[in-house]
Amino acid sequence: MKGGILNPDNGFEAAVKNFLKDVMEKADIDALLLPFKNAVGDSFEWRLVTADKLAEASVVPPVIAVNGARALSSITRSGKSAMKIAALMRPCEARAAIELSKLNQCDLEPVVLISMDCPGAMPLQDYIADPEKVEKEFEHAAREWNNELIRPICRMCDIFTCTESTWCDADIHVALPETENNAVAFISNTDKGREVLEKVGIGREEELGDWQKKMNARIEERKAARKKAREELKQHVTGLNSLSDTFGSCINCQVCRSVCPVCYCRQCLFNSVKVHYAPDDYLLQAESKGTMKFTPDTLLFQTGRMTHMSVSCVGCGACEDCCPMDIKVAQIFSIAADETQKLFDYIPGKRDAPPPLRVYNEQELKEYET
């Protein structure tokens, strides 16, 4: 793995900010999309800012209050503008953004997408409950790469960086300091990224040997963790019965889909009149067993959502962060997603790989033919 290296004088956060400053000046970028602490300091928010606001930005916030892909989508989804944006986000957010661009919900043409090594994120609701405490914990987690403190979904995430084994298709990837001299490395994944790095004068390619070694080690850990998690979670999702138990406490508030970056529908099918039936239908349905959960669509919603978005699921955990009933939504979906994605050997967030639904492949799904 090669990349351009900056030696930060005062910490990597400053280094990244300087880099972004350079990018704006030298690569004619008009705006930055970055996370900021909000006005009253009780959570984080995305802001589209000019260079002068850069100082207050928090490069790696402890929580993902809103998935960066949704932020980027809401800016670029409709209409055009000459404005050029550089956006810094976590790999899962960057991947979601690329996924959305394939679904015409996000225009990456005017965007330089920058991802960074992600130590994981903290549970949103914990942070809301006690910001100071959680911020301390996060600092520790980020420094030590301590998997115990971060969200369960992050513990099993193996695409948190960008090495040969785990690609991440953002234009530029920022490698957190791992080298003894605390250097921050900038890796380009696309021509656009390469140009930008050249313009800011760190186009030169230097070996990132030991950084990569460290990362690879962690990737292996995470892969193992994921495997373990899969084994544990499998039982909760195999067969309709276990599924309906797992989602039994679901109150059908559908916050999972409204915060999901890849659930892009304006109106969810399962929140529309299409799942409303005549009263006598419900009575007839109830009669078959003598009683029925009313309304009956909660499981339908969960499984339906799974079929709709699991090929594109990047496992960002937004759904789980927001679930009022503490259901392990993200973990379950991410595991299910592995299967569907394998089925079409599709990797969400990989550029120039069209969504399976769009392409007809004569040889696919043979095993399902009779």
Binding site: L269, S272, S288, L357, R358
Partner: protein, 557 residues
């Protein structure tokens, strides 16, 4: 339940009656809410049965209809016609297949009856959610626009014009005739091309119904079957042409031998492509670049076959023709033909081949062949079972594969038609519909559809004329499919997944509203878009979620 529902059960003679308790179905159906009338009949599809059906509908003022009988494939249209006659909207009708699905496959009579009852109930529930659909009629423009003034385009234009159709013939070069112009003769009869072609071209010029645009190309195509508007660009001057159908007869290009360096094209002297040789031959003197008459000529077949992945089916015969050219003009010259598979389809060509052998042309089967420079002129190296062999010749002719024209993609995009993996335009059905495309009203003919010889091209030209003459009849209106899809503007978020999966180019994107829109005249109601829309913003009339759901609920209850 809306309206008065009538339920009719056909006994289909003994076919249903013997295997299903029809009276039980009658009783069950009678008890269903909204059912105003139930009856069984010995054979509903018979004249007597249809009469009975019509009378009952009228007598009881039935507004919705369930018929339990055979497969809809067999008689749905029959009964829909009866509905119309009885002034009951033919889409407020649902058929339950209790013959193929019950009587003929379920052994146990009780089980068959149970299943049949579920089917009838399902149809009853579904029909309650049906909506009346009105026939649509659209006026059509019978004119035709033909792209490509080659032999195929000319033939099609002549036939159509003769049937009093206005024809716009668009040719990008400055003259009609296409590639055939280059040929001196046509295989296998070795007749002169000029006579045949000149005749057709003058027919075109004489025919006032054909408007020829030379040096022209199409720039934009909007609309659909019966109502296309095509922008034609003639040397920068633009004309808008309204037409009902479009014929793509853009012909072919020849495989560029530079893409297959082993044949030495470009580096070796006196090496010609087939088309170059045609021109050379037509000039009357077959001489090398040095002006010398060749003592020996090598003709190499299948140039580009591996690269393109298909056999053009014509080159073998052109090669034989080249050999004949040479033998006619230079009887003393030695001709060697290197081929892989001698492809002589059709009844007449083997004889053509054998006659040419008799004229002393030497045909050598090879596994592979290469051409290099040598001090004694071009050197051929070929490989067969006995290993490599070499020889020198004075001249080499490369019989190159036919390929799709280089602007095929542009044309395809403009006309919303597809191309197959070979790059040629894709036909609607590779067996049954060779000259039509998935886009109604856009036709393909000749080598635009795939490599072929002149006679097959002419046949396709005739085919296109036939398809158009029987499809669009002046004064006759078109009745587009009424069971079409439609998109809810409010719910659509513009992901354009539906555009991707629509085979008919029936959906377009409204950039202003940021939503997809179905053109219900082009739509055939296949439902691909419905399946692709995650938010259910797309629905197909008569196959709405609610209708299907209600049916399923009842079957599974």
């Amino acid at each position: 339940m809306k309206g008065k529902i009538g339920v009719f059960i056909c006994e289909c003679g003994p076919n249903i009656a013997e295997k299903v308790d029809v009276d039980k179905i009658v009783d069950e159906a009678a008890a269903l809410p909204g059912v105003a009338f139930v009856a069984k009949h010995k054979l509903l599809c018979s004249e007597d049965g249809k009469k009975f059906l019509k009378e009952q509908i009228e007598e009881h003022g039935l507004t919705r209809l369930v018929i339990a009988a055979c497969s809809p494939k067999a008689h749905e249209s029959t009964f829909m016609k009866v509905c119309e006659e009885a002034k009951c909207n033919s889409h407020l009708f649902q058929m339950a297949n209790i013959r193929e699905h019950c009587a003929w496959i379920v052994e146990n009579k009780e089980a068959a009856t149970e299943k049949a009852i579920r089917y009838v109930k399902a149809a009853w529930r579904r029909v309650g959610y049906h909506e009346p659909l009105a026939k649509k009629e659209i006026a059509v423009n019978p004119d035709v626009l033909v792209i490509g003034g080659g032999i195929t385009g000319i033939e099609a234009s002549l036939l159509l014009a003769h049937a009093d159709r206005k024809v716009y013939l668009i040719e990008k070069s400055d003259a009609l005739g296409g590639k055939v112009n280059e040929f001196e003769k046509i295989f296998k009869n070795m007749e002169n091309t000029a006579d045949m072609l000149a005749g057709k071209i003058s027919d075109v010029e004489k025919n006032s119904a054909i408007e020829v645009f030379t040096n022209s190309s199409i720039e934009e195509v909007v609309g659909f079957l019966g109502n296309f508007t095509v922008t034609v660009n003639k040397k920068g001057e633009r004309t808008e042409i309204r037409t009902g159908t479009i014929v793509v007869a853009t012909g072919y290009d020849s495989f560029d031998p530079l893409k297959a360096p082993k044949y030495g094209y470009g580096k070796v002297d006196n090496i010609y492509t087939g088309r170059e040789f045609e021109v050379l031959n037509k000039s009357g003197k077959i001489v090398g670049k040095d002006g010398k008459t060749p003592q020996s000529v090598a003709i190499i077949n299948c140039v580009g076959r591996e690269e393109m992945g298909y056999c053009s089916g014509v080159c073998c015969l052109s090669s034989i023709k080249f050999a004949r050219y040479i033998k006619e003009k230079l009887p003393e010259t030695e001709v060697v033909n290197f081929y892989r598979e001698m492809t002589l389809p059709d009844k007449g060509y083997q004889k053509f081949f054998e006659d040419t052998q008799e004229k002393g042309v030497n045909f050598i089967r090879v596994k592979s062949v290469t051409v290099d420079n040598s001090d004694k002129g071009p050197m051929i190296t070929w490989q067969n079972d006995n290993g490599d062999e070499h020889r020198n010749v004075d001249m080499v002719i490369l019989s190159a594969a036919m390929t799709a024209v280089n602007d095929a993609e542009t044309i395809a995009d403009m006309l919303k038609i597809s191309r197959d993996e070979t790059g040629f335009f894709l036909e609607e059905h590779q067996k049954l519909a060779p000259v039509s495309t998935a886009t109604e009203g856009v036709f393909i003919a000749g080598c635009a559809q795939g490599p072929k010889n002149i006679k097959e091209s002419l046949v396709q030209a005739g085919a296109v004329a036939g398809r158009i003459l029987s499809l669009l009849i002046p004064g006759k209106k078109l009745e587009p499919e009424v069971r079409t899809s439609y998109i809810s503007e409010a719910y659509c978020i513009g992901c354009r997944m539906c555009l991707e999966v629509c085979n008919y180019g029936a959906i377009c994107f409204d950039a202003l509203k940021h939503v997809s829109v179905v053109n219900e005249i082009i739509c055939r109601g296949c439902g691909n878009c419905v399946g692709s829309c995650p938010s259910g913003a797309v629905q197909t009339k008569q196959f709405k979620d609610i209708q299907i759901h209600q049916e399923v609920v009842e079957v599974l209850r």
